[in-house]
């Protein structure tokens, strides 16, 4: 009897290796931090080797990665859906832009304010929305994304209307000796690292366990004392907060906001980017950020006439080859390499 359970459990854990919860988990976690440290070192080195345009592109990858971290909390870890994540991104971007232009606040202060505004807005909208599930929730969040653009165009004295707002980018302090693009890149990198650590510690806390419980089995979570509406709303607000912070850095890096940068497509691209990157995974937001940044451009190169079609086909192709996203694919490849190495 115990022999047969042994076999089934082994077979089952072999089928779900992506979760990394096998006995070797501690080793995997250690490896993950080593890889993260190496990546960080490479990220610090990169801007001195690349031309400014590529540095700018990498900054944008980091911006999207921060936004996707938030979306990952909500979708990947709490199991809810949002088609309105781009709206909170826009709120963060506009909050920063308005504070910089109209209030002339020093730019580092715009980050906490933008994050806080997005958080409060997420809380306010999440409170009613998070009582809904599945498709209904998707529709409500989609509505948030849809009505944002006309709203931004409306309050012209504040938002600059359809023309948007053009701002001076944060200048590098003289002591750093960095060029503007490099400085912006390091700002984005600092925010991204802080956001990663914050998300990581959130998920490891009691609250993170509550989110996983809600995702995996709502009813069981509830009978264990997890207040569903409270934690779902909190997850929604946090996800909005990360989006808001990302939006703020976006404003720093681009130096320009306009309603047309934040149309519904942005929300949908972000969600697609996260799914392609890997839902609920550690590296998913970074891979998703790369995807959101570069794949539309690649699609444009492949076929100038119909970039949307190519973009769509690429998403389908990735999901076909890697149903658990690029993060899952990377994990699978690493494990098979490890297996080969072990055999030799």
């Amino acid at each position: 009897m115990s022999g047969s359970t042994e076999v089934t459990s082994k077979a089952a854990s072999a089928e779900t290796p992506g979760r990394g919860r096998a006995p070797g988990r501690a080793a995997t976690v250690r490896w993950r931090w080593i890889v993260a440290a190496l990546l960080l070192a490479a990220a610090c080195y990169a801007p001195f080797q690349l031309v400014p345009f590529h540095v700018f592109q990498l900054s944008m990858v980091l911006v999207y990665a921060v936004a996707l971290l938030g979306l990952n909390l909500l979708v990947g870890h709490a199991g809810q859906i949002s088609l309105g994540h781009g709206a909170f991104f826009a709120v963060g971007a506009y909050t920063a832009a308005i504070l910089l232009q109209r209030v002339e606040l020093p730019y580092p202060l715009t980050l906490p304010v933008a994050a806080a505004v997005a958080f409060v807005l997420g809380l306010a909208l999440g409170l009613p929305a998070m009582r809904l599930r599945g498709l209904y929730l998707a529709l409500v969040t989609l509505a948030i994304a849809i009505f944002l653009v006309p709203l931004l165009k409306r309050f012209e004295p504040l938002t600059g209307g359809s023309m948007g707002l053009t701002l001076a980018k944060p200048a590098p302090p003289a002591w750093t000796g960095l060029a503007e693009d490099q400085w912006l890149y390091f700002l984005a990198l600092a925010v991204a690292v802080a956001a990663f650590l914050l998300a990581h510690s959130l998920l490891r806390s009691r609250v993170g366990r509550a989110l996983h419980a809600i995702r995996d089995n709502e009813a069981a979570a509830e009978v264990m004392g997890v207040r569903l509406s409270f934690y779902k709303t909190l997850a929604f607000a946090w996800s909005a907060m990360f989006a808001g912070a990302a939006g703020c850095v976006y404003t720093w890096v681009i130096g320009f906001v306009s309603p047309d940068s934040f149309v519904v497509t942005l929300s949908i691209t972000l969600l697609a980017g996260l799914v392609v990157g890997g839902l609920g995974s550690f590296s998913g937001p970074i891979l998703g950020g790369l995807f959101v940044m570069f794949v539309p451009g690649i699609a444009q190169d492949v076929n100038d006439a119909a970039p949307g079609v190519i973009f769509g086909l690429l998403i389908i192709a990735v999901m076909y080859v890697a149903p658990t996203g690029l993060a899952g694919l990377a994990g699978r490849v690493t494990r098979s390499i490890q297996k080969i190495l072990r055999k030799e």
């Binding site: 089934t8 089952a12 779900t16 096998a22 419980a213 009813a219 069981a220």
Partner: protein, 239 residues
Amino acid sequence: MSAFLEVTDLRAGYGDARVLHGVGLAVPQGEICAILGPNGAGKTTLLRALSGMVRVRGGIRLDGTDLAGRPPDALARLGVAHVPEGRGTFVPLSVEENLRLGAFIRRSRAEINADLERIYTYFPVLRKRLKQAAGSLSGGEQQMLAIGRALMLRPRLLLLDEPSLGLAPLVTQELFRIVRAINEEERTTVVVVEQNAHIALGIAQQAHVLETGRIVLSGTAEQIRADEQVAQSYLGYRV
């Protein structure tokens, strides 16, 4: 003197479909109460009503506190632990994470760790599987995990929904032996819903037979077991 768990004229259902039509029970503290009956009798609904998962009318009192109309998370805080039908395992999470989630409402880390140890003494197999994904456990192990997780709440009332479902007879026997041991050691009051009447009556002090939302027969476990007519019409075996 009123009983520890007192259910009076309990009515519940889903939308327009009424499932329970006035159920009454009284379970003294530290006893095991078995709810028997055919499919569709409302056994699961009764448990769901006790843990706040369906809307109810009527009275539910636990140690004098009114439970009716409270949401499930509030009831968990009051000490009601529900092991749902199908176990409610958090499949991708590890065994340990599942158990720790059971103690979600509790704060003291030291107490939680002590309780984990206590649960491993009841279910030694769980200790061996701590870091394994809960979904990779066998059915019996998952049921043990579900009961262990419920115990992490330090429940005053433990609700078990068909713990024998899909388990081999030997595993079921072992499981009920452990439930009995838990009941004796912790003085936890248990309400267990079962299709397998024989095994449930083996550990219960009292039993009720539910049919189409009403209790049609109540008594001590011995009385129910001795009732030939019950045995044939509801419990599906001859004594």
